[in-house]
Symmetry: none
Subunit: 192 residues, 4 copies
């Protein structure tokens, strides 16, 4: 169906170019659909973008949810969450960049608000996992869970970006191990 083709094309084009450089023309071409069809199915560019982002976030949330609802120990859960994230970032780097960063640029305010809400949803989704780690297993440090969640996402994204510019120097495993270490144990050996 047209709607699906458009959505798929939109993901690609937005991911490759970012919101502003993506053009409706290219999305239509990529979806093999007339430009009018875009506007028949979506109210406009920003709404289409919103839909794409929403879908993306929901997908990763679903993927992650399975782990969180499992009865794995916290440490394993964290490993898997990091793994999922890395996949997302490495698979569609620009898209996740958009989701986690560009959301603050030049989109209509109302759409932007919705997107921020979505991001918040995702952050608090991760935060719940951390809270669990704090209460149930007494494993996580007593920090604000939301800040911690935000911090994890930031770490993962910047790490991935660096990795993508230097993928000859590290393996995917290096990256995964590094991220896990930094997130869970931090940079210092001890603080005395």
């Amino acid at each position: 169906m047209s709607k699906d083709k458009i959505l798929q094309a939109a993901i690609e084009v937005f991911s490759e170019n970012g919101y502003h450089r993506a053009s409706m023309d290219e999305i239509a071409a990529r979806a093999q659909v007339a430009k009018g069809t875009l506007y028949y199915n979506f109210p406009g560019k920003s709404q289409l973008f919103k839909t794409v982002v929403k879908q993306g976030i929901e997908e990763i949330m679903q993927r992650t949810e399975v782990e969180l609802n499992s009865s794995l120990p916290m440490k394993e859960k964290m490993e898997r969450v990091i793994g999922h994230h890395l996949n997302l970032f490495l698979e569609s780097r620009h898209f996740s960049h958009i989701v986690f960063n560009e959301i603050s640029n030049g989109i209509e305010q109302d759409v932007l608000d919705e997107l921020k809400e979505l991001k918040r949803t995702y952050i608090s989704f991760l935060a719940r996992m951390i809270e669990e780690g704090q209460c149930e297993e007494n494993l996580c440090r007593d920090v604000d869970p939301n800040l911690a969640a935000a911090s994890i996402v930031g770490t993962l994204e910047s790490t991935c970006n660096y990795y993508l510019s230097h993928h000859d120097m590290y393996s995917r495993e290096d990256l995964e191990r590094f991220a896990f270490t930094m997130i869970t144990q931090g940079l210092f050996i001890s603080l005395d």
Copy 2:
């Protein structure tokens, strides 16, 4: 002089809107200068942007350098570096967003390359501090210093972003303390 007025206006406009939404018209207006004057002083939009970013990065590098060259213990250094960063991020949130993120969107390739180079410079600048902490004080964990530097920047930025959307819930000190904890000790109490 015109050049300065333009540069100042450009910082503002780029910071508020991001690269693509910023218009040369608005920059000219904000600088109270004719549009032609922009092009008399800078070859074009992307070059102007590059100049702005370069200046920003150099400024924060200068600010931070003082600490790094001091004889303070590593822990103090890290605290101050975090402090400077937080200042930068909180003072001109969008600008630092640009510096550390938008550097990957739709700018002419050559300018983009220079910007990436600048960012790399900054990252390795931080990396040197970490290396020092690894060698001299045996304080820092044996991880790749560049990845660690990238990771720190990511943590700080995402944390700031979250803070800025929820500044009624945390104080600046909370933020600072949190960032320091996450960066140096990580999320987990122990890994047993």
Copy 3:
């Protein structure tokens, strides 16, 4: 249809002003079409220009071809070819000027190359007629046919230009007779 209106307007505007002085704004206005429509139908100014020139050259080639393929004696053919040319030059003076001259100024290199190719095509088109005159009827002097063709075009154009500035002094027949004489017999009565 828009495309035709634009093409017609483009001929007019390019003819009246030459390539550089012609503005897309005026072409749009003259075609009673929005500026965007120009770009919907043609990739840009230089491509539009190319299309116009191509069309013009093809038209005169068609007109002339009939004569060339006829079984008229060479002398008659030449008279008619000169007649067609004169018509073209006098009807749309600036346009032919463009076709035969401005093709060397400030147009994108690739378009320019195509235009030169077109002009070459036309020249060798005339050259074939001359070759025929050399072989079949032993009428034409043994000179390089391509140079001769170029030379004929040059004679006709400069003659027309002069005529157009002094049309009170000569009749159309004068012009035609003169051109025929100069081209076929040259300036000198004999060379002894």
Copy 4:
């Protein structure tokens, strides 16, 4: 002196780019003079252009005049005139193109009128030579001398243009001989 440097630079730049593509910036740069100096010495672009053209035409007229005033037989004179012309065209192709063709494009009307007048002057200068050939030596055909002069210029220019695009196929001597033949004897061997 500045004026001379400017004039020299202007010839170069106008010759290389044509009137519209030539920019005052480049002329100033080429003359190693500030842009203001251009306007200190000349009222504006079109006036500067006029001066350049005037100078160019006067120069070739001077060069040719020597031959015309000599007591050489007509045939020799014609050969030399053709030689001078060819030199002019081949040395600074674009410049002569401008002088003899672009003079009809987008320059202020008053300057344009003056330029046309100049061109006319040159044409009638050649025409006088032809008249002489008609009267004194009874060598030249009884055609309108001005038209003939115009025709000669056209032949030479288009021939040169063709030569310049195919300089691997003809020698300078070929060109000279060809032009002389076409101009003096025309294309046909006889007309019976």
